[in-house]
Every structure is written in structure tokens, then in C-alpha cells.
């Protein structure tokens, strides 16, 4: 099979993994050195495909031959897809060529499970080792970790990769048993634990080799099973807590060719995925707890964002006086982000905050208006019913539902 045909098959096979981050790596430079590649901690999106997703890394599988039969996966062994396998050298050539053209910032390599978990992991490591040692490649490398692989192999992968990831795949153990019979939550979490240990060791013990400096991430598939958002977010929060994950990716389940009956054949729930990312961001960056966003079982609202939903349910905290409130409380106002909150605090050291200052800071004023007080402004809607406010601020007008 020609290289271009393999690439066509193995990029298609890899695209259901949502991760594309090339950020978080330490500063590396090739200036004045042999070899190529640099990282700065900031990721670069080199292109975007018409699905709006970024292309930062060459995201491919080493092979899409796979012994597992995960129902949600296009590469499951019972799937009738074309199969291909790269040699490690082919992956190296493609990575370096695309890198020189400035099409990518590095490689994200994963694989179907062939022969055994250890064998598969060894093959992935071999590519990373070739890139780093023979070609002195200093760009970004993200390796998928095979859950059942020997911890020694995971440790070796961590020496070459910037980021490692093990996919949790589904938010609950019962779904995993049903849809991914060969996978086990226990071994997935063991692998996460090994990576977490490796990171910890590299940080604490001086002189120890570097280990996945951009940390670990995982992915959860949304909508392949019936799990609600509350369960999904609690699972995410516990992963953030236990293994210090940098990111949990939520991937709306895309229908796959020759879909088995166990998974839905419908358009991916993109808006739901978007709301989960927003909620995740509130957990990581704004100090929200899952229980604040969803007090019981159920899903996030689709018509309003989770911060606005929280504010409408907690009117007793509002309106917030922007000239007096704590920065953390300002950041909880719908329409005002962490950055704007910082800027408002800097500005109020110089002067009293007025309504027009918010316009200049490009806050989402329609959303913020009912919830704030400035020197020259007090919301008329402060007394409005939350239900009424919600109707006004909803992103999908109720009328549309009639269509």
C-alpha cells in the first residue's frame, strides 16, 4: 500500500480522538543546533478543518488493525473498514516533512491493539525514540498509552513524550462493560496512576529524567450511552482530583460506518458537548464544584450556558457590586470572564467602575446586565423572576421549538 493511502486510512481512523493540544511543553529550541523543533508552552493551531476543529498535531494511528471490539469505535475488529499499518520510519518521515512545512507542531500517535498491549506500546515508543534520538526532534509528542501495558513501558514513554493519555472512554463502569468488553476501568486507572506517579517523581526527585512535562489527559465519549451530564462531570472531577489530569476531553459520539445496534446512529450532540466543555472550564478555572452546576442527576441546560444557569438559580448572590466584590465573585457573574474580572480589579484601583467601562472590556453585557451594580448603574431586572430572565437570555428562542 502506498504511503498516501495508508495516511488516508490511518488519519480517518484516528480523528475520533478529540485531543489536539500542543500546549504545556517546556521551552525547547533548535536555534543553532542540529535537528529541528521547538516548543514554548503555548500551543499552535496550524489549520482548521471544516468541522471547526484545529489541526495542531499529525494525529494518526500506527495501525488500525485491532483485536478489541469496542462498539463505539470505527476500528473495532468487527468493523468492515480498510486496514493499514505504518512502519515507524514512515511515521517519522511524515512528521518531519509536515513539521518543516509548518503544517503541524508535532505528533499525536495512537494505535489499535495488535498482538498484545505491551507489544503495541513498544511500537509507539519506538517511533517517539526514533524522532527524539536519531532525528533530534524537539517538537511536541503526544503518545496514547495502552492501559494494560507494563508500567516500565509507560515510564519509558514518559521520557520521550510531552503528553501521555489514557482514554477513560465511557463515564461509567457499567457502560464500559457493555460497550468495550475487553477494557477494564481498573487497568485504565492503573495506567493513569502510573503516569501520575511518573510526573510526581520527575518533579520531586532532582536529577530524575523528565517525564511527560505536559501532563496527561483523557477522553470521554458523550452520547454513545445514556449517562447524564451530572455523572459525566462527577467522573471528570474525580479524575482531575485523583490523577491531576490537565484535561478531560468530551467527544460527542459521531455515527460510524456499519454502526452496531448497541450505539446510536444520530448526528453527534455538538451543543451538549459544548456545554460540557463550558462546565469543565468552570470546574478548572473558576472554582465551581460539580454540585453547584448540577445539584442532582440530569443534564446541563442547552439553551443557556452553565454559568448563567448557576446565576439564575442563585439570585441571592446578585446583583454584584463591581466596585466592592471579591475578584472570584466578579468572575462568577455571567458574561464576565476571569480576565475581565482581573482587569476590572486593576481598573478600580484607579477609578470607580462605570457601566461604559464594561463596554470597553468587551464583556457580554446582555448577560451581565441583570447581575451587576456599577457606580452609575443599577439593574432594573434585579427583581425579575429567574424564569422570565431565562426566557430573555436563552440562546434558542422558545418560538424556534415549534419548527
Amino acid at each position: 500500500m502506498q504511503l498516501i493511502e495508508k495516511l488516508t486510512v490511518l488519519a480517518d481512523a484516528a480523528k475520533y480522538d478529540a485531543s489536539c493540544a500542543s500546549s504545556g511543553a517546556p521551552n525547547r529550541s533548535s536555534k543553532g543546533k542540529s535537528g529541528i523543533g521547538s516548543t514554548t508552552g503555548m500551543g499552535i493551531c496550524h489549520s482548521f478543518t471544516p468541522d471547526g476543529r484545529c489541526v495542531a498535531l499529525l494525529k494518526i494511528l500506527l495501525t488500525n488493525f485491532c483485536l478489541y471490539d469496542c462498539q463505539y469505535c470505527v476500528n473495532r475488529r468487527s468493523s468492515d473498514v480498510p486496514r493499514a499499518r505504518f512502519t515507524p520510519e514512515e511515521v517519522v518521515t511524515l512528521t518531519l516533512d509536515f513539521y518543516k512545512r509548518n503544517c503541524i507542531s508535532g505528533l499525536f500517535l495512537s494505535s489499535g491493539i495488535i498482538r498484545s498491549a505491551d507489544y503495541t506500546m513498544e511500537q509507539l515508543i519506538r517511533v517517539a525514540k526514533l524522532l527524539r534520538e536519531e532525528h533530534e526532534f524537539r517538537g511536541y509528542i503526544h503518545l496514547k498509552t495502552i492501559p494494560d501495558a507494563d508500567p516500565l513501558l509507560i515510564a519509558e514513554a514518559g521520557r520521550y513524550a510531552d503528553r501521555l493519555s489514557v482514554n477513560i472512554e465511557l463515564p461509567t463502569e457499567s457502560s464500559l462493560i457493555r460497550l468495550a468488553p475487553e477494557k477494564q476501568v481498573r487497568t485504565i486507572k492503573q495506567a493513569m496512576h502510573s503516569i501520575h506517579q511518573g510526573e510526581h517523581q520527575a518533579r520531586e526527585e532532582k536529577g530524575s529524567p523528565r517525564f511527560a512535562p505536559a501532563g496527561q489527559s483523557t477522553q470521554m465519549i458523550i452520547g454513545a450511552d445514556a449517562t447524564d451530564d451530572s455523572t459525566i462531570l462527577h467522573t471528570a472531577a474525580s479524575l482531575y482530583g485523583e490523577y491531576r489530569l490537565r484535561r478531560v476531553y468530551y467527544s460527542a459520539f459521531s455515527p460510524i460506518p456499519q454502526s452496531p445496534n448497541t450505539v446510536p446512529f444520530e448526528a453527534p450532540p455538538l451543543l451538549r458537548e459544548h456545554r460540557l466543555y463550558q462546565a469543565d472550564f468552570l470546574l478548572r478555572g473558576y472554582g465551581f464544584e460539580v454540585g453547584e452546576l448540577l445539584s442532582g442527576p440530569g443534564n446541563l441546560a442547552l439553551d443557556i450556558d452553565p454559568k448563567l444557569a448557576w446565576a439564575l438559580n442563585n439570585r441571592e448572590h446578585f446583583p454584584v457590586d463591581l466596585n466592592r466584590a471579591e475578584p472570584a465573585m466578579i468572575a462568577r457573574v455571567p458574561g464576565i470572564g476571569v480576565l475581565s474580572a482581573k482587569r476590572l480589579v486593576a481598573l478600580r484601583r484607579q477609578k470607580r467602575i462605570r457601566f461604559e467601562d464594561l463596554t470597553r472590556l468587551r464583556c457580554a453585557l446582555e448577560k451581565a446586565k441583570p447581575f451587576i451594580v456599577t457606580q452609575d448603574y443599577h439593574p432594573q431586572q434585579a427583581g425579575s423572576e429567574s424564569l422570565l430572565l431565562r426566557q430573555q437570555l436563552s440562546e434558542t428562542p422558545a418560538q424556534m421549538a415549534l419548527w
Binding site: A11, F48, F65, L67, R85, S254, P255
Partner: protein
């Protein structure tokens, strides 16, 4: 009104601005002339020599100078008046002028953001074209059309990235060449550089296009997200640019409702037989197929 001609560079502006500031000339009295050659007999153009050594130099936070230098890369009809007004206000002790919430500061930060974004666009959307191995001159060449004057300040990134590989970037206005050791910046861009930058595409481009088409998920088509992140003005210089409308119309026409790329859907598939027991038979190992 006072004409203040200078050479159009930030260094030139800074020298003149420093002198005007020292003389107490207020922003509304200054008419900035970046064309430099318009000096008439009656212009009193201050230069470094006019600086009065006996007067104390205006005290400006170093950070402000960096902000002003960066904001000066923002292309527009009159980019200099705002910079002097902010400099003036801060020198008078009104530091709010530097803040994003201020009436002038918000303009400054808007420009800073646009300049940063444009530098990022250079790092992201520029595409190098390799030249034949035996060719004289740079190994990689690129043509790029930035919206602001960021080439000189933002190109160092590629020297970090590409090591000793030599490269050249040409734009309609300026150009930069890395010889493996030193950066050479030219404004205006030499026509020879512009010609080099338009080196025709090689065969390797086909691999990138194959990847781009395959990594796209037609079941998730989202045109507005694409256009927000990858502004349409960049499409014409991207090798994948012509593919974008093609992929979109295929996806919209509902060629397939699942996520598979069309190029893959057209190929014959292969199911893998279930392994007999825990140790997997070698037959399932595609390594043997090579």
C-alpha cells in the same frame, strides 16, 4: 499645529516623541508625518540633537515603551497620535491611560491584541515550501500576507523551530531570510525574494492534503467555527485552502451521515477474526503482511 516628520519607524518616532514631551508639546498640537520627507522650511522637526540635556528626561515605565512599540505594528491611517497621547498622559502621572478599561488604553489594548493575534497567525498559517535539494539559496520558502507589520518582530520563532535549516519569508511589503545563523530583514522586500517565495508546489503537498481531508469529520460540519478560527483571508495562501469549500459541499450534500472520510469509504474493508484465546495468534498481526 506642529509637524513632526520622522522616518516611519518606531525608533524614529520615539526620538521625536521624547523631544516633544520634554518641550511640553501637547498631543493635540502635534501632526505626525511618518513619510519623513515632507519637511518644509517652517517645520521645526525635533531630532535627538534637540534634546535638552539640562532638563530631566521624562520618566516612563519601561513596560509602556514595550507596549507602544508593539502597538506601533498595527497598520492604520494614523497609528502614531494615540501612542503619543498615551505617552503624554502617563508622563503626566495618569497611568490609567495604559489600562484596557481606559478610553485611550482600550484602543491601545485592542491594537496590541490584533498585533499579537497576527504574529500568532504568522506562526500558525504560514506554509513553507521545500526547494530542490541542489538549489542555491534557502531550503524552505514561504509567501505570507500579514495584516500588520509583524514580520520583523515575530519571525525569530522560525529560527527556534527549524534549527540550521535555511528559510526565507516574503510578503508584499517586507521579507526576512535566515541563513542558519543570522536573520536578514529587508523592507521593502527584494523582488528576487518575492520570486523565490512563489516556488511551485512539490509532490509532498499531496500527503498533507490527504491528511487534511481524512482528519476532517463530515458529521461535525461547522462552518462558522472554521471561519472564526481560520479567517477566510488566509485560505488563498494555504495549500488546503481550495479543499475547504469542496469538503464542505460534500459534507452538506449528505454524501455520508457518519464521520468517515469519503476517500476511505470508497475502499474495501476488512474484519478481523476474534482471537482464539488470550495469546493472540500471529495471523492477526498485520506486521506479517509487509
Amino acid at each position: 499645529m506642529r509637524n513632526a516628520p520622522f522616518d516611519g519607524s518606531f525608533i524614529g518616532w520615539r526620538t521625536v516623541a521624547r523631544s516633544l514631551l520634554q518641550q511640553g508639546i501637547a498631543p493635540h498640537q502635534v501632526n505626525w508625518r511618518p513619510d519623513g520627507d515632507s519637511m518644509s522650511l517652517f517645520d521645526q522637526s525635533p531630532t535627538a540633537a534637540d534634546l535638552d540635556a539640562t532638563k530631566p528626561a521624562p520618566r516612563i515605565p519601561r513596560q509602556l515603551l514595550e507596549l507602544l512599540e508593539s502597538a506601533a505594528c498595527f497598520r492604520m491611517e494614523d497609528r502614531w497620535s494615540l501612542l503619543y497621547r498615551i505617552l503624554w498622559r502617563v508622563a503626566q502621572g495618569d497611568r490609567a491611560a495604559m489600562l484596557p478599561g481606559d478610553i485611550d488604553g482600550s484602543q491601545l489594548h485592542k491594537r496590541l491584541k490584533a498585533v499579537r493575534r497576527e504574529a500568532h497567525h504568522l506562526h500558525a498559517f504560514l506554509r513553507f515550501q521545500p526547494r530542490p535539494e541542489n538549489a542555491e539559496g534557502p531550503q524552505l520558502v514561504a509567501w505570507h500576507e500579514p495584516a500588520h507589520d509583524i514580520l520583523a518582530s515575530a519571525s525569530g520563532h522560525f529560527a527556534e523551530r527549524l534549527g540550521r535549516t535555511t528559510w526565507l519569508i516574503a510578503t508584499p511589503d517586507d521579507g526576512i531570510y535566515w541563513d542558519g545563523h543570522v536573520l536578514h530583514y529587508q523592507r521593502p522586500c527584494p523582488p528576487e525574494w518575492q520570486r523565490l517565495a512563489h516556488t511551485p508546489e512539490d509532490n509532498g503537498q499531496a500527503l498533507w492534503l490527504a491528511y487534511y481531508g481524512s482528519t476532517f469529520n463530515p458529521a461535525r460540519l461547522n462552518r462558522s467555527a472554521l471561519e472564526t478560527s481560520l479567517p477566510v483571508r488566509f485560505w488563498k495562501n494555504l495549500p488546503e485552502g481550495p479543499l475547504i469549500p469542496q469538503l464542505m459541499s460534500q459534507a452538506r450534500a449528505g454524501v455520508q451521515r457518519d464521520g468517515q472520510a469519503e476517500a476511505v469509504a470508497g475502499r474495501g474493508g476488512k474484519r478481523i477474526s476474534r482471537p482464539a484465546h488470550a495469546t493472540v495468534s500471529e495471523n492477526a498481526d498485520p506486521a506479517l503482511r509487509h
